[in-house]
Every structure is written in C-alpha cells, then in structure tokens.
Subunit: 178 residues, 2 copies
C-alpha cells in the first residue's frame, strides 16, 4: 500500500502515546535499524522529537556521522521483527535482510523508510548539545508518511524485558488539549 | 490500599510505555496538578526522566520555584479526572478539590502524591539547562511507590484532542532488552 503524506502538525499524535519505534540510519555498507522506546515530543510544529540513543549502539555512530534518521512506527503484527532488531547489532548483522524488512527511499534524508511500518518520520538532528551528557538527540521531523489503510492502530509499548502492552480500545473525552 | 515502595531500578517499566501522567507541584496556597504526555526516560538508575512542561502552565512556575514534583500515573478508571486536570488551570482552580483527588504527603519532596493514581514517583529537578530553549526539565526520581493490587495496568495514552488509547493485552517476546 502506498503511503500518504501526513501533516507535520499532527506528528505528535503518532508519538505521544509512547510506541516502540524503529530508528533507521544509513552506513557506509548498509542501512541499520534499532528499536527505541526513550523518546518524547518537544515541540508541535515544526515537530521536534527528543530521543536517547545509547553510545553503545551502532546507530549512535551512524546518527552522529550523518545527522539523519527515520523514525518508523511498527504495529503488533511485526512485533517479533521489532524484538529481533533489538536483540541484534548492526555491526555484524544486516537487519533488513535478516528480519525480512523492506527499505524504501526517503525524500529528505539518506536513511530508508521501513515499508512494513504503518508510519515513517524523516528526521535530521536539530540540536546535539545534550548528546555528550545524556546521549539525547533533538530531531526535527522534515516529512511524515502514513499508511491510510491502518484504522485500528495497534502499536506496542515496552514494559521491560520483552513484555509489551498492545494499544487497545480507544476512548474520546471532552478535552481542550491539542 | 497502602502503596508499596517500588525499586528505582524498575521505574523505567512504568514510564517507557508512554502513559499520560499527572504532575503535582506545591504552591504557596495549594498544590497543583497538570496532565502531561511529553516525557521520556533518560537513564535507568538513578532514574532520570526528561519532560516538557510549557511555560504557559502554572506548574512551570511552581516547578521552577521549588525544584520538586511528583509524577503520578493514572489508569483509565480516573480518565475523566485526568482530562479535567488538563482542561483547567491551577491559577484559579484547586484541582484536588474540584476533581475529588486525594493529596498524600510524599517522603522526599514537598509536592503531594495523588492517592488515586496506581504509581507515584517523587522527583527533583536534576538539570534545568534545557528549560529556556525547550521547557525541558530533567528530573531525578528519588522514591517510587506502587499499588500492589493493580495487576492489569490499564494506563491511558493520548492521541490528540482528547482521544486516548487504553493499554490492552500484554505479550511477552524473547528479548535481550532491559
């Protein structure tokens, strides 16, 4: 299914609920994928996302070198692949190949979109002043994509040691919140 | 139900899944409550939490003045109260009174615990160097509490404009992740 462009002003609705995401970066020989749960919105528009990528991860070096990545949001149907990406290292594994994930070219960055994820956010590093102290990167979302056929968004939410909550029923309450 | 002390090393399991939380602060005349979704873990232990509290919120001033707060984690049974806290301002509203929430003394900070929330994290501001640019506070969790009777943790996760996903079924996958 071809993904549709998604308004930058609504990107916060994808990340606020706290899904596990897959971060793709590009390296000299191949792109890499890592699983990440430590992220937060920092600004609505242009959307800024803060995230922790440990300097023990191969993706840390790639993100530092290129200043670009894609945040891909998976749903429960590919949960096994997500955990697989979390259990392996890009230093010795081609994760796209190993887990049967499909890289697609992005429009604004060199890192690829993961086709099997229902949403993709093309990002560049906007502020790296907190990287030394906390491995905390501030990313600007340049372009967002979404699969318009996914209506019930069953994202997965990590609770530690491989236990995940799946996003369940949705409720609507009268809110003045954005 | 009396809450039990919860190990600081496991605090990340409460916040990683991205629940809406209620932040309590203490003011000159009364404590305040705000709803928040823009938070992330930054370090396992001692647990560091990064969060955005807008300078348009009354809680911003109270947190700046006292350097202390409590992160309270609600479940869906009090979702209406959570949205109520988000729709009102502490400048003219006593939210504990208006929404029938019960303040309990904390052990390490002046801000109160919300009794009706299943978990409570007593925090102090550890780093405010990103407050001017992003209203981003780095908090250290000093003490954590949990209601041991809550087995199925039905936290709520904001998707924008009052739409919330409720944490649903849980799955376990073989993970090397912490």
């Amino acid at each position: 299914m071809a993904k549709k462009s998604f308004p930058l002003s609504k990107v916060y609705t994808l990340l606020e609920p706290g899904p596990v995401v897959l971060v793709t970066t590009v390296g000299k020989t191949r792109p890499n994928i890592m699983a990440m749960s430590w992220h937060t919105m920092l600004e609505f528009e242009p959307p800024l996302v803060g995230c922790v990528i440990s300097n023990r991860n191969h993706s840390f070096d790639l993100l530092q070198a290129t200043g670009e990545c894609v945040i891909n949001i998976p749903t429960v149907d590919i949960a096994e692949k997500v955990v697989g990406c979390g259990n392996t290292s890009g230093t010795d594994t081609d994760k796209f190949n190993k887990f049967g994930l499909t890289p697609k070219p992005a429009t604004h960055v060199g890192a690829p979109l993961i086709e099997e994820c229902y949403a993709n956010l093309e990002c560049r590093v906007a502020d790296s002043s907190m990287v030394d102290l906390y491995c905390f990167f501030i990313l600007e979302v340049l372009k967002a994509w979404i699969d318009p056929t996914v209506k019930e968004v069953r994202t997965i939410h990590h609770r530690g040691h491989g236990r995940f909550m799946i996003a369940g029923e949705e409720i609507a309450l009268k809110s003045k919140m954005k």
